[in-house]
Symmetry: C2
């Protein structure tokens, strides 16, 4: 089954400008890219763009907790710890494997409608998350969130075991799923356990996905409780030696560290909307980009954002750092687009995903430019239109592995009505 995108504007995060032409997709890959003056090849299905549709790479939501759609909107406008302890955690404790399955599927409906083709998820009952993603044909990077419990000394070991079994079963499966180990954060996993998890990652050739320095409190925790600096922590735990490490948030990590320590195996995940909403602060993004440290974008869970919409993260990234640094030249539209697509894919071990190149994964978003807010968009300025003027409402189709998972309001591989109904029932059950 080959699909031809005929006469579309083509843009990815590494192109200086968009090009107008045709894309042939076959066997899950971008088979060929032709310029507008070339005769488009034959195909089973043709999407005619008439120069008023754009094709961009699918977004990668590089840090989320998908099933937290079920706890969205609980106890808003409360201080962080009160919110977590009184509103979120008691409800989360009622989540069953089934609820997590339906909550994840509900998140997938939302993400696919906004052009997200892959999500990096840290939660529990991750086999069901893998089942949800794989069943629909969506890409996902999965880890079991591992936390310690003073009253249950075996918990870290059991969770690590679950995470390793998840990797056995799912890592690399159908090219759709990668698995990482998921130690939650330095303040929820003791140093010794973090070391063991890093060793396990090295043994198995797996990456690690953790929260790192989201809040100033965590930086103080490192200093006061662990007697560590961020540098000594990353070195002593062995995180600098794992195949790759993905550090979510990193709001309070000082970019100067990159002057003396290699970040070549690390990607930072910037979650600007969540960091703003929780009052965590603003990551010094430009200082990282200037040091060539890889940064991707994520939404975080739906309870601290509250959208799972990568257009929002991309736009907020491009606006926020200009504003707080009083410098309109910070973070270009193109940089934001690359962070929202290619950087997230690369971070989680998906090769040849996130750009529009021959032989790369056919994870693509079809964007309608035939609307008032794209008047004036052309090859030269398309990135600025997409990032500053665009939104998820412009998405007309989301393709993963060459197959439509979302097309004009429909989900060919998902039963939207059942998912919404089941997610509603789950929400009711856990908030009773």
């Amino acid at each position: 089954m080959a699909t031809l995108f005929k006469d579309v504007l083509i843009l990815d995060g590494a192109m200086e400008k968009a090009s107008r032409g045709h894309i042939l997709v076959s066997k899950g890959r971008i088979d060929s890219i032709l310029s507008a003056d070339q005769t488009p090849p034959a195909a089973d299905k043709i999407v005619s763009g008439h120069g008023r549709m754009a094709v961009i790479p699918g977004f990668v939501n590089a840090h989320t907790h998908a099933a937290m759609t079920l706890v969205r909107g609980l106890g808003e406008e409360a201080p962080l710890m009160e919110w977590l302890q009184e509103k979120v955690w008691p409800v989360e404790a009622k989540l069953t494997a089934d609820y997590i399955y339906w909550g994840t599927l509900s998140a997938m409906l939302e993400m696919l409608a906004g052009g997200t083709t892959c999500f990096a998820d840290m939660y529990f009952e991750m086999d069901r998350v893998a089942e949800a993603a794989s069943g629909a044909g969506m890409r996902a990077a999965l880890c079991r969130g591992i936390t310690a419990d003073a009253n249950d000394p075996g918990k870290v070991g059991r969770s690590l075991q679950e995470n390793l079994e998840l990797a056995e079963r799912w890592h690399g499966r159908e090219g759709l799923i990668t698995v990482q180990l998921g130690p939650h954060a330095p303040y929820t996993v003791p140093m010794n356990d973090m070391k063991k998890i890093a060793e396990a990652a090295i043994d198995r050739g797996l990456g690690i996905h953790l929260h790192f320095l989201e809040t100033e409190w965590e930086l103080n925790y490192l200093r006061d409780e662990l007697k560590a600096t961020p540098e000594s922590y990353l070195k002593d735990t062995g995180l600098i030696n794992v195949p790759y490490a993905v550090l979510a948030h990193a709001v309070w990590l000082d970019p100067k560290l990159a002057d003396t320590m290699s970040f070549s195996n690390m990607t930072l995940i910037h979650n600007p909307c969540s960091n703003l909403k929780l009052g965590s602060g603003v990551m010094p993004l430009n200082d990282w980009l200037e040091r060539d440290v890889a940064v991707a974008l994520g939404t975080d869970g739906a309870s601290s954002n509250n959208r799972l919409d990568m257009w929002e993260e991309m736009r907020t990234t491009a606006l926020l750092h200009k504003g707080v640094n009083k410098d309109p030249l910070r973070v270009t539209a193109l940089e934001a687009l690359r962070m929202a697509t290619y950087e997230g894919a690369r971070a989680f071990g998906f090769a040849r995903k996130g750009m529009i190149r021959e032989g790369w994964m056919a994870d693509l978003v079809l964007v309608d430019l035939d609307t008032p807010h794209y008047i004036g968009a052309d090859e030269e300025n398309l990135a600025a239109y997409i990032v500053y003027a665009g939104s998820s409402a412009d998405v007309r189709g989301t393709m993963v592995n060459g197959k439509w998972l979302y097309r004009r309001g429909d989900y060919p591989t998902l039963d939207r009505e059942e998912i919404v109904q089941r997610a509603r029932e789950a929400r009711k059950a856990i908030t009773k």
Copy 2:
């Protein structure tokens, strides 16, 4: 023609929680509001919500330059003055009255699709803007942007005359249009002229809409060139004595001024996205709210945002101030909703607009809650869902004065195809 919204969630920016019930709209007003257990009255048209639609007040975009849709996306990622002088101003100089008419209509398509029912516009050829708004039945607060020109000493006088004639013709017309005087800013209108304009406003009982302290450069200009403080400027020009003054941006105005000077005739317009994008900084919003100074929200023109989407401004307002102040309790969802609706209406002289009350203007937005991202929304938490999880993609209808101006992709009072075509032609002509 009466319209009944049957079984909807009803929310405005002054309600502690939403209520479930029916709204009867008749003769341009909210005729009656009934609770869900009351029998809904008869009506010509019925919109059935089944408890899965919300009705909120129409947004008021309290500071924009609508026809700048035609210069959107020109010269992005450039320093501010280079961008204005080399990219925007030379192109703007080619705008004709006709182009402004079609550019404004194009902006209206965009705003109506996102639930905006009223916009406050400062530009030129404002008779054509009034014609566009009035013709479609959209509300607007209009002023002629007045700037001085050293080579044309009569310019301010002529522009003021145009603005006064605009007021004669349009102020109060059909209850849809109000007119203000529009001195552009302290750095583009000499002190003496600003005084004359303030006097004219007092004479005619008109409000004033101006840019005030958008950038730090303007604060320095006041000090160095005008030998003025913000306080002395507002007093010496007479702006504190006009019927009402609307100060757009005010990023660099110190809220402590409200401790010693009355702001009772003033509203500040916060344009968070534009201020971020241009690197102007972040307004100290909370310090104003704590002092009970009125603040409304605007998008600014489409060349510095680049969306005309009040959902974005509302959400950015609710997120940004939490983040930069590291305090998750700043600016609640409800406060942001009130600023995006009621405060803008009140600022520009529209009485009984911006809340859902019997006898108030039937300027309403129909929001679809039957989507994955509203699972869990209820009367208690609807404001948080709308502001943090919602977006313009959720709008199913926008009603002004009891009439649908946007309904499920259609514009009953506007010829979308012609507008888009004409706006495209205008864009081509001015960028040739």
